[in-house]
Amino acid sequence: MAFGKPVRRRPDEDQRIMPLINVVFLLLIFFMVAGQLSKTDPVKIEPPLSESEKEPGAREIQVLIAPDGRLLLGGEEIGAGDLSARLAGILEGQKHKTVHVKADGSADALDVIAVLDRIKAAGVEKVRLLTSARGAP
């Protein structure tokens, strides 16, 4: 029979790619569950490594400090002088006055301290510096 063959081959092909689909599904589920989808930062920031064990909670307010000292709040660049006023406005009426600072590891420590000081001046109770966990040696 000339046309019997292709009809019978289709389920065979399906059977052959089944393991592939299984693996792809597993990978898909792994990436969906294990990875976190987060907004990418407008500037590239390599956080400093630390041995801290504390994990960050919800990061509602986040101040970014770029390697060259530029500040970003909520995705847009902001001058150092405006930071306190802007933060105070955002924090008004919020219960947990916690601000996370994501600074680049190569940023000048004094710049970061100046920013921390400004954040404190805005009435923030807790300032947390985000770091990335140092891999096990």
Binding site: L49, P56, A109, R128
Partner: protein, 126 residues
């Protein structure tokens, strides 16, 4: 009896592959940690009282104004922390010191038992 596929597999695989690629590119596996930081105001008297000042220079460390090696610093401070776990330590980096170095020092102070480590803001930064 062979199970018959009701829909063709190819579009399904296409979609799954696209989803897979999306999740691979979009998800991050960064292991975030936090350090809670205090900032003491230079010139203010209350917070500075009884605290030990560690200055972080370009290539040296200073403890209360004296240049010390890192092992000496850790030894001195460990002894202090043992006597008084609430001993305050103030960290003052010099201009140009990268944040990573300051964090490394905070890590080591925490490992030595320091619980109250904070930065000092330079008065001219305000």
């Amino acid at each position: 009896m062979r199970r018959r596929a009701i829909i063709s597999m190819t579009p399904l695989i296409d979609v799954v592959f696209i989803l897979l690629v999306f999740f691979m590119l979009a998800s991050s596996f960064m292991d975030w940690r936090t350090i809670e930081l205090g900032v003491a105001r230079a010139g203010g008297s209350g917070a500075m009282k009884g605290a030990m000042l560690v200055e972080l220079r370009g290539d040296e460390l200073r403890l209360s104004g004296r240049t010390v090696s890192e092992t000496d610093l850790m030894r001195t401070l460990s002894a202090r922390f043992e006597k008084d776990p609430a001993q305050k330590v103030l960290l003052k980096p010099e201009a140009g010191v990268p944040l990573q170095r300051a964090i490394d020092l905070i890590d080591r102070l925490a490992a030595a038992g320091g619980r109250d480590v904070s930065f000092v803001s330079a008065p001219e930064a305000r």
